[in-house]
Symmetry: C2
C-alpha cells in the first residue's frame, strides 16, 4: 500500500497536467454544437483508462456515449471477491456567461492551489482522482482487494437520460456490492465528508377555476369567490406557524434523527448570521425544534415555487380573475414515499377546497429520498478512508437536494451508493470561474486508494 | 308639451337615420389612426347642434376635442331659472375583434328593433336622444323651463383625460344645478332605471421580498420563509368565511342601506341560478346578510386582481422564489374615503407581515364612491320622467363600478349627477355586435323631454 501512496506523490504534477487535458474538452452536454467534443472527450477517457491498465469501451446511447472501464479480473476460479462500481461524468455545464470568467473556461489555469476551468470540480477532477488511485495500484502491481467497474457518462448535466437504460442493458456485468460516487461536496478542506442521505421530491400543480372568464370587479365583484383569494386561503393553511406542514399523515413515515446523527450534524461548521447574510433574508425561518442544517437536509418541506393569477402587468386591472395557479414541491426524507405523499396532499387539497371554485390538481415528477445508515460497516469504512487521506475527522452530511441516479443504482442494480464528494462550497460549480482545489485532488486520490482496502475488508 | 311629444313621434324615422350617420364615424379614441375621424365626428356633432338651434362650439384639448352646446338663453333680465348640464361622449371603444361582428361595426344595420354598430348604445344613441328632445322643444317653439348645456367629449373610453381641465377652465359657463348623464343601463325595457349610487375604488400592489435571489429548494428549502407562502398567509386573513373584509376600521364609514333602498333593490329582476350560470361559477359567494344585487353594488369588497411569484412556465422549477406580488383593489361605498381606506389597508398589511420577509406596499389610483339620495326631489323628478316615458314603474339602481367623471362634476362644478341610462344588459357595450334598442332610443327621447319639466318644477 505504501507503494501506491508513493506513486501518487511522485506523479502529482503529471496528474494535474492530465486533468488540464481533460478539462480542455468543451464537453457541454446541453449544447448540440458540442456533440463531437463530447465524443472526443469520451474517447480520451477510454484511451486514458486503457493507458493505465483498464479494459475500457465506449457505449453509444441516444444521447452522448457512456464510458465503461474495468480493472483486470483475477485469472482462474477464485473465491468471489467484493466488487464496486465507481460513477462519474465527463460532461459539463454550459460556460455562459463568458464575460464573467477571469480566464477562458476551457483553457485550464492554475492560480495558487486552484485549477480554474469548466468541469474541473464538477466532475472531471473528482472522477480522475479515482482513476489515478487505480492507476497507482496497477502501475505498482499492488493487488487490488476488489473488482472495480467505472461508469463515466456524458449526460449528467442534462438529466442522465440514457443511464437507466444502460444500467438495465448491462445489468449483469455491472453487478456490484456498492456504488461509489464523488460528485457532492465537503464543507471545508478540514471537513472531508460522507453524504449519507438525500431528500426526495414530489411536484404538484394546482389550479382553481372560478368564473368562466375574468370578471369586471366593479360590476360582479362581491357575488363570486375570487379564485386567487381562495387559493391563498388554501395555501395558507398548509404550513403552521411552527413551520410544519399540516397535511394529515405527512410526517407519519419520517424517520426521527438518531442521537448519533444529531451529534454528527452539530459538528458541522455553521454560522447562522453569515448564512442569513448570504441568502439575503431579514430573518431565518424553519421548522421549530431543528437546526437550520437539519431543516434543510433532514426534514421534509412544502414550498410554493410559483404563483400565477389574473393581471400581472404594470398598474392595475380591476378584475376577478377566472383562475389561479400554484406550483408546489415537497421535499421528502426517509421513509416518506413520493406516491403516498402525492395522494395525501391531493386528497387534502380537494378536501379543503371551497365549493365556490373548481379544483384541478396535477401530480408531477417524484424522486425517492435516500439514506444509507452512517453506522453501517461500509459507511464506517468510507469514513476511515476519508480520515486517513485528509488527516482530519470526517463529517457526516445529509443533503437537501435529490440525485436521481442514486435511486437508479438502487432500483436497477440493487446497490447502495457511498457519496464521497471532493467539491468545496466555493468551487463555483455551475457558475463562472469554476475551480477545483488541487489539495482536494491529491487527497481525493489517496482517499480513493485507501477506500478499496477499507471497503474490501469491511 | 304635446307638441314636443308629437314632434318626436313624427320624426322618429329621421332620428334613426341621423343616429346611423353618427355611428358611421369610426371615432375610436384609443387608436391614433382615428384621430381625424374623432375630429370629423365632433364637427358633425357641432353642426348637428347648430342645425337644431343650439349655440355650439368645438374645444380643442391635448387629446380629442370637446363639443359644447347651449340652448338659447332667454333675453332680458329674468328671474334666475334652473340650469342643467347634459353629459355624453362621441368616442367609442375599439371594434376589434372584427371577425366576431355579424355586420361591419361602422356600417349601422337595423335588425328588428335593434340598431347594430359600434357606439350605437355606448354612447351615441343615448346622447343623441337628449339632443332630439331639445330639438323638439326648439323646433316647436315650446319654451324650455330651464337652461341646458351639453358637454359631449371624445375621451371617455380612454379615461376622460382632458375633461377635468375643461371643466375647470369653463367653470363659469358650465355652472349648473345638476348634471344629467345617460351612459348607464337599465335591467330590461320594462325596468327604466335611475342609478343613484356608484362604488369607489382604491388599488394596491404588495410585494414581499424574501431571499436576495431564487434559491434551490433542495439545498436551502426549510431554512427560510417562502415569500409566496407568506403572501398567501397574509392575503388569506384579509377575508373571513362570511365574506367580510377583516382590515380594522374598513366598515366604519359604510352607510347602512335604508329600508327604502332595500325595498327598491328587492324589486329588481334577478335570478340567482341564471346569474350563476352566466358567470360560470360552481356556486355564488358574497358577504353574508346581503343579496347578490346588494353585494355587488352597495357593499365594499377586497379583490385580488393578480398574483405573481417564482416560476410560471411549463412543468416545475424547484425554487424558493425571491419575491411574491399581489395586486389588490377594494371597491368602496359611501361614505368610505379612498385615502383613509388606503391608509388602513397599508397599516394592516404592515402589521400582519411576518419578520421573515420585507414588505413593499404601493397605493395606486383611487376614486370616491358616489351616491345621491333616491328620495331627493330631483331623483323623484327623474323617476316621474322615466315612468311617463316608459309607461312602467322605474327602478332604483346602485352600480358596482366607478364613473370617475361623476366625481369631477361634483368636485369642480359642485353638481350632483342623475344617471338615467338607456342601455340594456344585452347591448354588447365594449363587445362585438354592439346594438342599441330603438325603443329605448324613442322612449329615451320622451324621457329627456319630460325630464326638464319635472326637474325645473322639482
Amino acid at each position: 500500500m505504501q507503494a501506491v501512496l508513493d506513486y501518487l506523490t511522485k506523479n502529482k504534477a503529471r496528474f494535474v497536467s492530465e486533468l488540464c487535458d481533460y478539462v480542455r474538452f468543451p464537453s457541454v452536454s446541453a449544447q448540440p454544437q458540442h456533440k463531437n467534443d463530447l465524443l472526443n472527450c469520451a474517447q480520451w477517457v477510454v484511451d486514458h483508462c486503457e493507458g493505465i491498465g483498464l479494459t475500457a469501451s465506449l457505449h453509444k446511447t441516444e444521447g452522448h456515449p457512456i464510458v465503461l472501464a474495468r480493472t483486470p479480473r483475477p485469472k482462474g476460479k477464485q473465491a468471489k471477491r467484493p466488487s464496486f462500481l465507481v460513477y462519474g461524468h465527463y460532461d459539463v455545464q454550459p460556460p455562459e456567461p463568458f464575460e464573467l470568467w477571469k480566464s477562458p473556461p476551457f483553457e485550464p489555469k492554475i492560480v495558487g492551489r486552484s485549477l480554474f476551468g469548466r468541469g474541473s470540480s464538477d466532475n472531471k477532477g473528482q472522477n480522475l482522482a479515482h482513476l489515478k488511485a487505480v492507476e497507482a495500484y496497477l502501475k505498482t502491481s499492488t493487488p487490488l482487494p476488489c473488482d472495480l467497474t467505472f461508469v463515466i457518462e456524458g449526460e449528467e448535466e442534462v438529466g442522465s437520460k440514457s443511464l437507466a437504460d444502460f444500467l438495465k442493458r448491462e445489468q449483469k456485468q455491472l453487478a456490484c456490492d456498492a456504488v461509489v460516487i464523488s460528485d457532492t461536496g465537503m464543507p471545508t478542506p478540514k471537513h472531508p465528508a460522507l453524504t449519507y442521505g438525500l431528500r426526495g421530491i414530489v411536484a404538484f400543480e394546482v389550479t382553481l377555476h372560478g368564473p368562466a372568464r375574468d370578471l369586471h370587479s366593479g360590476i360582479f365583484g362581491g357575488t363570486v369567490d375570487n379564485p386567487a383569494m381562495a387559493l391563498c386561503q388554501m395555501m395558507a393553511g398548509l404550513r403552521d406557524k411552527n413551520g410544519r406542514v399540516t397535511v394529515p399523515g405527512f410526517y407519519d413515515r419520517v424517520l426521527p434523527l438518531s442521537a448519533y446523527e444529531r451529534k454528527q450534524a452539530a459538528r458541522l461548521p455553521f454560522n447562522a448570521n453569515e448564512y442569513k447574510k448570504f441568502l439575503g433574508v431579514p430573518q431565518l425561518f424553519g421548522e421549530k425544534g431543528y437546526t437550520p442544517l437539519e431543516q434543510r437536509s433532514c426534514r421534509p418541506t412544502l414550498e410554493i415555487n410559483g404563483l400565477t393569477s389574473g393581471y400581472q402587468g404594470h398598474g392595475s386591472k380591476t378584475i376577478v380573475p377566472a383562475w389561479a395557479r400554484v406550483k408546489i414541491t415537497t421535499r421528502l426524507v426517509p421513509d416518506q414515499r413520493p406516491q403516498e405523499i402525492m395522494k395525501l396532499v391531493i386528497a387534502h387539497l380537494k378536501k379543503i377546497c371551497p365549493p365556490t371554485v373548481r379544483i384541478e390538481v396535477e401530480g408531477g415528477h417524484g424522486a425517492e429520498p435516500y439514506v444509507v445508515s452512517p453506522e453501517s460497516p461500509r459507511a464506517q469504512a468510507a469514513l476511515r478512508a476519508l480520515k486517513t487521506a485528509f488527516g482530519c475527522e470526517p463529517v457526516l452530511l445529509r443533503e437537501g437536494g435529490s440525485i436521481p441516479i442514486v435511486n437508479d443504482f438502487k432500483k436497477i442494480l440493487g446497490a447502495e451508493s457511498l457519496l464521497l464528494g471532493l467539491a468545496l462550497p466555493d468551487d463555483n460549480a455551475h457558475s463562472p470561474n469554476e475551480k477545483f482545489d488541487l489539495e482536494c485532488f491529491t487527497k481525493g486520490q489517496r482517499m480513493a486508494a485507501c477506500l478499496w482496502q477499507e471497503l474490501a475488508g469491511s
